[in-house]
């Protein structure tokens, strides 16, 4: 096993990987940008290397600096996590050429799955169903002709993409050109690759993905499905395992898991990966969307129901160990739901809400997992994804998991930025969600006009504010009263109290 690895990422996922390293006795080195110098990931790492300024182009996307940091700190392997360089085949190659192990699949597999056109032809050849689609190069006219053949509505997607970036639904031919232009611009920024493709758009769709693990000895297993249909602006916000749809359809689950393994096989996949399918809720047909050649944000729900630590498995596979189980050893028990807590305003088009986290108090309860990379005093900046935390509940049944997650959400205190917590609670309580009728359009269909519930000010809130002001104005133990407007007053939020920094 490795003695020391470098984590080429930041935030909650860097923290999560550090924690896996701790359990395995591996030292963890992180790289960081100037904006993250005081971050939790840096704090928890054994070593930390500064690689640039806040914009990702100057730090987390600087492959050569990251490889240099890994060499300088005597790391044996590099974990890319997700986002940034995680699906960049050139980075994986650079790591390999530096004599280090890339904790992920081979660059060839990343490249094959990263180019949607190649990915589709590979998996089609392996007998995996795919959506009718068109992948061209450059000329708008070609796209327009192909689009007419596919029919509307259709999706414009980034060839190198993921995470909804550069993705657009087009419902009429007149809107196609503008959509292609905007998507190409976004894709170019996000992936340094502005190639696009088109594909059929299913109106009543579920997003179901299969987790796979493959070692370097030819063993491949799946770890069942995650359903990630609850999305806003093409970004997953609630994920669960098992899928309520597949619970009643074991043969369909088996078929999808089998297709996922074939897709992985088609590129000689190793390490952890996810095969994403779109499922037509009316017909039960499923189509390959893409394979994510990396860890997923939502991996904790699979960990909760399978008792497999995916990050630790990634490390073991990368170190050359064989999978410690066969397919028949694996199980899917209970029900797990994750929701992503964002600094954003769901009542204003889910616009990111930047600012200082004046108070962050995560819940603590049995079978609640909090994966977060921020704490009181940190800042949500414009440079990075505004996710504050992932909150995961595990229980014996879906109904219990929903209740548990809701109780934990209500106990999650975040002051200083607007969050989507009230929104998430309303989604969890929505009747279609409760019975498991989860489709990718639920949010836009039911919550388009969502507003936070208005609560009149209770006396207790007024009392809390007054007591707080009173205590602050008379704080005797501190010696002198801090200025009333001092945001770093030790009473108001001592966790944010940084002396002389």
């Amino acid at each position: 096993m490795f003695k020391r690895i470098l984590i080429a990422n930041r935030g909650e996922i860097a923290v999560r990987i550090i924690r896996a390293c701790r359990e395995m006795g591996i030292e963890a080195v992180v790289v960081y940008s100037e904006a993250d110098a005081d971050s939790l990931a840096v704090q928890l790492a054994d070593r930390a290397v500064l690689i640039g300024t806040a914009p990702p182009n100057d730090s987390y996307l600087r492959a050569e600096r990251i490889v240099e940091a890994a060499r300088r700190t005597d790391c044996q392997a590099v974990h890319p996590a997700f986002g940034f360089l995680a699906e960049n085949a050139a980075f994986a190659e650079m790591v390999r050429e530096a004599g280090l192990t890339f904790i992920g699949p081979a660059p060839e597999a990343i490249r094959a799955m990263g180019l949607k056109t190649e990915a589709l032809s590979r998996v089609r050849a392996a007998g995996v169903p795919t959506l009718p689609s068109y992948a061209g190069e450059g000329l708008i006219a070609d796209f327009q002709q192909a689009a007419d053949q596919l029919g509307y509505p259709l999706l414009v997607k980034a060839a190198a993409g993921g995470g909804g970036k550069g993705m657009r639904v087009v419902r009429a031919a007149a809107d196609l050109a503008a959509a292609l232009e905007a998507s190409a611009r976004e894709a170019g920024k996000a992936f340094a690759d502005n190639r696009l493709f088109l594909e059929r758009y299913i109106e009543s769709a579920r997003h179901i993905e299969i987790q796979v693990l493959a070692d370097s000895h030819g063993n491949k297993v799946h770890l069942f499905e995650r359903e990630c249909s609850i999305q806003r602006r093409h970004q997953k916000i609630i994920e669960e395992s098992p899928s309520p749809y597949l619970e009643a359809r074991p043969e369909l689950r088996a078929a999808m898991c089998e297709a996922a393994l074939r897709a992985a096989q088609s590129v000689d996949y190793t390490n952890a990966g996810t095969v994403e399918f779109i499922l037509d809720a009316h017909t039960g047909e499923f189509f390959f969307l893409e394979m994510n050649t990396r860890l997923q944000v939502e991996h904790p729900v699979t960990e909760a129901v399978t008792d497999v630590d995916l990050v630790q498995m990634q490390l073991r596979i990368a170190a050359g160990e064989p999978l410690p189980f066969r397919q028949s050893d694996l199980y899917q028990r209970g029900h797990a739901i994750e929701c992503r807590i964002y600094a954003e305003d769901p009542a204003a088009g889910f616009l990111p809400s930047t600012g200082d986290l004046l108070c962050v108090q995560p819940p603590s309860a049995p079978h609640i997992r909090v994966d977060s990379g921020v704490r009181t005093g940190d800042t949500i900046s414009i440079h990075y994804d505004p996710m504050i935390a992932k909150l995961i509940a595990h229980a014996g049944s879906r109904a219990e998991a929903i209740r548990r997650l809701d109780a934990a959400l209500s106990a999650y205190t975040i002051l200083g930025v607007t969050t989507n917590i009230a929104f998430l609670r309303d989604v969890l309580a929505q009747p279609e969600f409760v019975i498991g009728n989860t489709t990718t359009h639920l949010v836009e269909q039911v919550f388009a006009e969502w507003q936070p519930p208005f609560a009149p000010l209770p006396d207790s809130a007024l009392i809390a504010a007054a007591l707080s002001a009173l205590l602050q104005s008379s704080a005797p133990a501190v010696g002198a009263a801090p200025a009333a407007s001092d945001p770093f007053s030790p009473w108001a939020y001592p966790d944010n109290f940084r002396v002389g920094v």
Partner: protein, 162 residues
């Protein structure tokens, strides 16, 4: 000590004083005798009779954020005679809808624009947002330029109604 807070455009007055180990708080005709359970790390827990309340309070200048029972309340210290007056005039500012960077300004001063026409492209956290004209009109003045980082609510341009 009397405190006056504003919440949802309504002013609230509360009188707070120590009473031995406890605190006495009066809101209108209602008086509460309050015992502190905990005041640490922004956490404020207190008992009123048998009832226990745990709140988190963070102060940001004149604003108090109070989280309580799964809800968040934002109170500002009320100033008797200060009410922000809405900007009025023939032309109105079009403001940034989020904190971000101006990618491109799509119009020039003097341009006539149609309702829904994109005027400015903003980007934050890899997400692109276009700021569109809320009505037909004419660009009176540009207040931002490409590359500039703008705050949410900051004026981007002045737009006159036709």
């Amino acid at each position: 000590m009397e405190f006056r807070f504003e919440h949802a455009k309504t002013q609230h007055s509360i009188r707070a004083e120590r009473d031995g180990e406890s605190f006495r708080l009066r809101i209108g005709e209602r008086t509460y005798l309050v015992d502190l359970v905990r005041a640490a790390g922004g956490e404020l827990a207190f008992r009123i009779g048998d009832q226990v309340v745990t709140a988190h309070v963070a102060r940001d200048g004149e604003t108090f954020h109070v989280a309580l029972g799964g809800q968040t309340f934002t109170l500002s210290v009320a100033k008797p005679n200060t009410r922000r007056s809405a900007a009025a005039g023939g032309a109105a500012n079009l403001n940034a809808t989020m904190h971000g960077q101006v990618v491109r300004v799509l119009v020039s001063e003097g341009d006539a624009v149609k309702r829904g026409q994109p005027l400015v492209l903003l980007e934050a956290m890899k997400m692109e947002m276009r700021v569109a004209a809320p009505h037909d009109g004419r660009v009176v003045r540009l207040l931002c330029s490409a590359g500039e980082v703008v705050q949410r609510g900051q004026a981007l341009l002045e737009l006159a109604e036709d």
